[in-house]
Symmetry: C2
Subunit: 235 residues, 2 copies
Amino acid sequence: MHRLDRSLIAGLPAFQGLDDSSLDAILQSASSLRVTKDQAIFDQDSDAHSFFVLLDGRVQVVKSTPDGQQVVVRYIVPGELLGIAQALGRTTYPASAIAVVDCVVLAWPGKLWPEFATAYPSFGMNTYRTVGSRLSDIQAQVVEMATEQVEQRVAHCLLRLIKQSGKQTNDGITIDFPISRQDIAEMTGTTLHTVSRLLTGWEEKGLVKSGRQQVTVVEPSRLSVLAEGTARDNI
Amino acid sequence: MHRLDRSLIAGLPAFQGLDDSSLDAILQSASSLRVTKDQAIFDQDSDAHSFFVLLDGRVQVVKSTPDGQQVVVRYIVPGELLGIAQALGRTTYPASAIAVVDCVVLAWPGKLWPEFATAYPSFGMNTYRTVGSRLSDIQAQVVEMATEQVEQRVAHCLLRLIKQSGKQTNDGITIDFPISRQDIAEMTGTTLHTVSRLLTGWEEKGLVKSGRQQVTVVEPSRLSVLAEGTARDNI
DNA sequence: CTGCTACTTTGAGCAAACGCAAAGAGAATC
DNA sequence: GATTCTCTTTGCGTTTGCTCAAAGTAGCAG
């Protein structure tokens, strides 16, 4: 097995404030693995044996309901932690993680979590900061789901995606991983049909360009306008 | 100013695993305050000067949108932490907290947070566990909002409320603080009209009894059935 | 007791979005 | 190059739940 270089993780938020020897020690117990597209990194409700850092690729975090419906909780970009059930005092994963493109991840045995958190206080702080910001994110999402209607939610969703994973192209900003109407529907609590209708409508207005598993936002600012109140603002 | 007795907080989850001298030290810097019904403990977006533990009463946590809509995030019961913006690395409160009955809270200056977390590791662990469980709760809520329809959501909401704040009475289990149709609507992302219609419907079936700012669940088990799939389960 | 305020109920019409169904288009496989 | 599979589009009927409006009711203040 080849040694992992410290530079892999040195710049990441989770490892901020750690000195070189700590980083090396942490990497000692890490194993790197490749995950091919559509493969699961971990499954909901299974034993939380490991926690991970995504080094390259994109990962979809999905929660399934008992009756088989799915909700896409978030997408993970390189540098982020995932599967940190241990940090929340859980023993099973609350969701599944699927590679949406070929990925590279580092994995640590879950039982090392408490050791790391005490041995490297900054690491503990950093991860809890992550958890905190995810809590904020998801609270915002609840507010959105409670107060906005579908069109606004989908618009917000696209804006968030291009902010997180946008790549500038000739036409505008593209979401740089394959994402279907169904995926967007599962992020926003609607159906793929409604998403499809919205996208074609927006395409006619020149707001977006979209195709199979692919969305480009042509005019982010006009989409933002849609994302805020469309009607009702005429006071 | 009278001294605060250690027994006030000794049993609480947040202070589990702390020895008596630590508890005393922590209480040294606490101040207790009474909050009368309908008064705010802190306001959304204001400087997060303090964090709190609720000793007695009930507190409603509300998030407001820029256009004035409100979403009730959760209710806090005695023993729980609130206003822990610091733990999430935030400097302002992400929501407002309103006393729904007369309350007693302990308050600490926010800047003590990091000191406590490092000086009393169990305290840090405990609070992060709290944050973790709130993350789980709210993720479940997102899934609910995305996949269930209003009737199920309201049923789930009532079940959660009686679990957290239920008091056994002759008629059934009552939510032991004043809660309006509007409040329930703001928890479930619907309107007070729809909640009212649902409750009267359920009352006719003998599932609940309700009145002004008051709801009693007569048959929790039948309500649970409603909360899961009503139709569509006939496979 | 009376009037006021806040909360609740109920009706009627309407719009948003879903469910169902079928056809069309892109990509991958053989 | 034909076939298959998956993803997407689009039409239509239906439903859910919202909006608007108005009346009813309980508690509170004077």
